[in-house]
Symmetry: C2
Subunit: 218 residues, 2 copies
């Protein structure tokens, strides 16, 4: 396959469309994801860039329904702990739907691999580049899912050590995400947290600077 | 703009094409990036998901050539420090081209904003989700660049504290990337580090597991 050609206007528009129509979904309609489609999306994730070609991502498919329920319970626990930590925004937070674990067709846990300390290229001063690489893989999966007409949500409301215990993960792994994936009734027209007035979108200009730090939002 | 429609086969193929043909580029041919195109790609980055809609990313465009040279020097210093830390792979590493700072049309520094501690949603147990969100934004930018026919490279060979000094960044910011962006003669047919035998691509099967940890690669 040649990787040299330029993209037609239509191809370019499709890439931007996926980027703009991707949503962090929490509402799912059950159903299923065909094995072939799941494989195609995971291949897209695995085609992500990684620091020093480290490929630090690992995907654990949760097909066991008891295990899925245990994940759900972990998230409920962390949801309450988060509400408490939020103080005055606690009630507001508790009104939000924060996950779709019980309703989604597929549930995946994504983690950093163990034994990462030998990977020094691009990580000597910035060891957290392994997290960045794994997030790039998840973003690929997200965009591929949108193109396939499937919704995806990233849940980070859990205690990593509890997750390690549940899935028999070594101490030097680092779980980063519970991904909920599958058919949805509709994609939110704008981010759900924006619709629910949890936070406002900044304008692009406010996150851009020239040559030195001058953050308008601070 | 409706966000409901399904993607046509052609649109779907275009999204996968961008995912598979995106490369971490270190070879650039100078030139320039039109202001409108840069804006379009940065808007795509800013359309990324973020934990609790935090939008933690900040982009600093380096248009000052002396500043760009100072970035280059910082990377050279870290390149030597990395080579030393790599021990027996030191010579092999020093053969690799690791950045295109002097040759790319546009150079951007990406950082986490400061004052992140009040953002607790999705971060109480996992504060590093801000890094993950910013990496999703960078991956959007990368894919948009490929669709625009432009190359991009992510350089993480620098000392964050030196970068903060150089760009007058507050102590609680966290620089994550020097992005090199612009026209390229060609996109690598496969990842450069694979072509140079720095590392091999794993098969997808080796990074997938079912229900519990069993990492074939360990």
């Amino acid at each position: 396959m040649s990787t040299q050609g330029s993209f037609s206007s239509a191809e370019k528009a499709a890439v931007y469309r996926a980027i703009y129509e991707r949503r962090d979904m929490r509402h799912f309609t059950g159903g299923e994801v065909e094995a072939e489609t799941l494989q195609r999306m995971l291949s897209a994730a695995h085609a992500a860039p990684s620091v020093g070609l480290m490929q630090p991502w690992r995907f654990i498919r949760i097909s066991d329904s008891q295990l899925r329920e245990a994940l759900y319970q972990q998230v409920q626990q962390e949801r309450l702990a988060t509400a408490e930590a939020l103080g005055e925004r606690s009630n507001e937070f508790m009104q939000l739907k924060v996950e779709g674990i019980r309703d989604c067709a597929e549930c995946l846990v994504v983690s950093l691999m163990g034994r990462r300390e030998t990977h020094i290229f691009g990580r000597r001063t910035m060891p957290h580049m392994d997290i960045a690489s794994t997030a790039c893989a998840i973003q690929n999966l997200w965009l591929a899912a949108r193109a396939e007409g499937l919704g995806m949500g990233w849940v980070s409301l859990f205690e990593p050590s509890a997750m390690r215990s549940l899935l028999a993960m070594p101490a030097d792994t680092e779980p980063l995400a519970i991904l909920c994936l599958g058919p949805v009734a509709e994609f939110y027209p704008s981010p759900m947290l924006e619709q629910q007035h949890w936070a406002q979108r900044h304008s692009l200009a406010t996150v851009l600077m020239d040559n030195r730090w001058h953050d308008e939002l601070e």
